[in-house]
């Protein structure tokens, strides 16, 4: 800032603009790279799960495949179907991408200082800006002049609007704990130890974490909630008619969404970039911690996609309105009551969080045990010929 104003003689306003532009470029570059790498990771992981290789030709282990794909898509002709609403059809992909990108403004890539803007209503902004994606998808479905696309768009509108409510409700719990709507304050309210994370603070916040994760899967159109682009039913749904660069933008928004699910879950529930006291504020380590947690969540999202079948539209709605929404409300009220009680006896908070974390660990141990059983009981490959 000083450099710009003093040596280059800029006014404060223009210095701010330049800094903002630089920051936005960095964030966008990270986002584009991450969404590309996510698509590569997804294909490799899927290949691993399905006894095949996945892409391994372009670059070491195929990691440059997404670059090749993007180049191919950009070189392709940009078709606009007959009878399409040309204006809407053209702007839609950017609207989708914008909805996803704008979320990054309030999410940290590292420590609290590494946010584009630490808004004092950050969580509210986060909830509302993600809704732009649904307008994009709905417009894509409508403007393509394709009935399958239209069905995909309608499904998506119904789905995202319904799931937004439990997601927003579940975010009330961390807001209660932090006592603030700012994402930075939410980060500061958590510690670096697992039982100091919001997700394991109380049974209620654990419930809220669960609701939030499932809800964001649904908002990101990921299996088991990928109805808007149901490959086998709607022939890839709302983006059927898109080709070339516009499709590439949709693609980027979709995989960027996976990155966002990881980033938001980590920041809001899993302790974010917090480090032990003496390392607190180390920029490299905090980015590393943040990214490690994000990548783990992204892996879980991809893992779910290649394991589970897809819901039907009515079952999807049932899940949202009959189960997730009540769960989110219970989490909110439970947390409120808990905080009233814990206000009088401070030791309770510590003990509860450790107990919740131990319960979580036990569940994980049970889960790993089941994975081991699966491995033990898997069949030996046969060597014919």
């Amino acid at each position: 800032m000083n450099l710009l104003t003093d040596t280059l003689g800029m006014t404060e306003f223009w210095a701010n603009v330049v800094i903002m532009l630089i920051v936005c470029t960095i964030v966008f570059a990270v986002f584009a790279l991450m969404s590309g790498i996510t698509s590569w990771a997804e294909r490799r992981i899927a290949g691993r799960m399905q006894s095949r290789y996945g892409c391994n030709r372009v670059g070491p282990q195929g990691i440059l495949q997404f670059v090749a794909d993007a180049v191919k898509l950009i070189l392709k002709e940009d078709l606009i179907p007959d009878g399409a609403d040309r204006f809407l059809y053209k702007i839609t992909p950017y609207l989708c991408l914008m909805g996803v990108l704008a979320t990054l403004v309030v999410l940290p890539l590292g420590s609290r200082a590494m946010m584009v803007a630490d808004l004092n209503v950050g969580v509210l902004y986060f909830i509302s800006i993600t809704s732009i994606v649904v307008i994009g998808i709905l417009m894509a479905g409508w403007s393509s002049n394709n009935k399958w696309s239209l069905l995909g768009g309608m499904r998506s509108a119904a789905q995202i609007v319904s799931y937004e409510i439990p997601v927003a409700m579940s975010l009330l719990t961390p807001i209660l704990i932090a006592g603030s709507l700012s994402v930075g304050d939410l980060l500061d309210s958590q510690g670096w130890l697992p039982w100091e994370w919001t997700a394991f603070q109380t049974p209620f916040s654990a419930l809220a974490f669960f609701v939030f994760f499932i809800g964001s899967l649904a908002e990101g159109n990921r299996t088991p909630f990928d109805l808007p682009e149901a490959e086998s039913e709607l022939v890839s749904g709302f983006n059927t008619e898109y080709s070339g660069f516009r499709f590439a933008v949709f693609f980027m928004a979709e995989y960027g969404n996976v990155f966002l699910i990881g980033l938001s879950t980590t920041a809001l529930f899993l302790g974010g970039p917090n480090l032990p006291g003496f390392l607190q504020g180390n920029p490299f380590l905090s980015v590393a911690v943040m990214m490690l947690k994000t990548i783990f969540i992204m892996f879980v999202v991809i893992w779910l996609r290649w394991t589970l079948p897809r819901f039907r539209i009515d079952q999807l709605m049932d899940l949202s309105w009959k189960y997730l929404l009540p769960c989110a409300l219970i989490a909110f009220f439970g947390q409120s009551v808990f905080m009233l009680v814990a206000h009088q006896i401070p030791a309770i908070t510590q003990i509860t969080s450790i107990v919740v974390f131990i319960v979580f660990l036990l569940i994980m141990i049970k889960f790993i045990g089941r994975i081991r059983t699966n491995y033990k009981e898997q069949s030996i490959p046969v060597g014919l010929n």
């Binding site: 899927a46 799960m49 399905q50 006894s51 095949r52 009935k147 399958w148 239209l150 069905l151 309608m154 499904r155 299996t223 088991p224 990928d226 109805l227 149901a230 490959e231 086998s232 039913e233 709607l234 022939v235 290649w306 394991t307 589970l308 079948p309 897809r310 819901f311 039907r312 539209i313 009515d314 079952q315 699966n374 009981e377 898997q378 069949s379 030996i380 490959p381 046969v382 014919l384 010929n385």
Partner: protein, 373 residues
């Protein structure tokens, strides 16, 4: 001043090119949003006139064409045709050849059911089970390649026996495969069959009562899925099936109503296990001996007609042959299971979701070339 908002149903084309129609089939559906009001299956996109071709090729020359009737189970299609001609000629097939026929036919039944189950899984959005089941099918393709050199259209059965004897060490390899395969089926169950989402999608969807199934002339696993215990291998035994010990699995409404998609799906899974049982018995009992009965080069069956029924993976497949004593059939008619399965779709597809129609098609195991021939 009230004016009703005018609404109309959308007419959507599902197919001919659609990922979940399992081939080139077209469904014209009228929907109210997600709910189907009317569904009209339109068949014939894969009609190749195979029945007409029969009239211009020799009796032996038609065997490769039967491969193309049902490419997922061409062994069984070969078998049905060869049996029909043998009945007309009065040829006795040697016992070893009968055993080989059962082994090849049952291996092919397993591979066909694997595709049926896998495709149903994929239609529900679970892609991994499909790929894993196709991997198992590759092993079966390898085994069948060992005995006849082909992996999809085998042309293995001949009139009066089979074309080649089993290669050396074949039974050990099949046994090894079966040991591996039984575990793999269990693994598949854990992955998808007992998955709650999958059960939700299949249970209570498009239930077909036993009466309805018989009214619509269901055959094979679809009929048994509705709880009717009828299997041509048991009720009208042919070949050596009366010597073999196996169960006929039927739908039991384990998670939903009787005859729903899940029952039809599960019957196929159970049939795979029974086929494994049959294979084990055959491999132990198989005798030495001839594999081909003496059949003249130019076959001229006596004037007359014959109708033969066999149990293929898609149910009761019948070959009606009319001979006028010449070197090629005078008329040949193939009756297939997919076609009868198709006829119930307009009935089942009323007031269900589009996603359910996909489940119905998947669970009926419709194969387009067999449908149109």
């Amino acid at each position: 001043m009230t004016s009703e908002l005018k609404t109309e149903h959308i007419t959507i084309n599902m197919g001919p090119q659609h990922p979940s129609t399992h081939g080139v089939i077209r469904f014209v559906i009228k929907t109210d949003g997600e709910i189907i009001h009317e569904c009209d299956p339109d068949v014939g996109y894969l009609h190749r006139g195979i029945e007409k071709i029969a009239e211009s090729v020799t009796w032996q020359g038609f065997v490769p064409f039967t491969d193309r009737v049902d490419y997922l189970a061409s062994m069984n299609a070969n078998w049905a045709y060869c049996m029909a001609v043998e009945e007309m000629l009065g040829t006795e097939v040697p016992e070893r050849a009968e055993y080989i026929r059962v082994i090849a036919g049952e291996l092919n039944r397993i591979s066909s059911h694997l595709v049926a189950i896998g495709a149903a899984d994929m239609d529900m959005g679970a892609i991994t089970p499909f790929v894993q089941l196709l991997r198992e099918r590759e092993y079966i393709n390898d085994l069948l390649e060992m005995i006849c050199g082909a992996r999809l259209t085998y042309n293995y059965y001949s009139i009066g026996g089979v074309n080649y004897d089993l290669p050396e060490g074949f039974s050990i390899k099949v046994m090894g495969f079966l040991d591996h395969f039984e575990v793999a089926v269990e693994q598949m169950h854990r992955l998808v069959t007992y998955n709650q989402i999958f059960i939700n999608r299949f249970a209570n969807v498009a239930a077909v009562s036993p009466e309805m199934a018989m009214d619509y002339n269901f055959v094979g696993p679809n009929l048994r899925g509705s709880g009717v215990k009828y299997d041509v291998r048991r009720n009208k035994p042919y070949s050596i099936y009366d010597k073999l010990d196996f169960e006929i699995p039927i739908g039991t409404a384990s998670v939903g109503t009787l005859g729903d998609c899940y029952d039809r799906y599960f019957v196929r899974v159970e049939e795979i296990r029974e086929s494994v049982k049959i294979l084990r018995q055959c491999l132990q009992q198989i005798p030495e001996g001839e594999i081909q009965a003496k059949v003249k080069n130019a076959i001229k069956p006596p004037v007359g007609h014959k109708y033969i029924r066999t149990e293929t993976p898609r149910g009761d497949t019948g070959y009606f042959i009319y001979s006028d004593g010449k070197t090629s059939p005078s008329r040949l008619k193939i009756r297939t299971g997919s076609f009868t399965g198709m006829s119930i779709i307009p009935e089942l597809a009323r007031n269900i979701f589009i996603a359910d129609l996909v489940a119905v098609i998947g669970s009926l195991d419709i194969v387009a070339p067999e449908l149109d021939r």
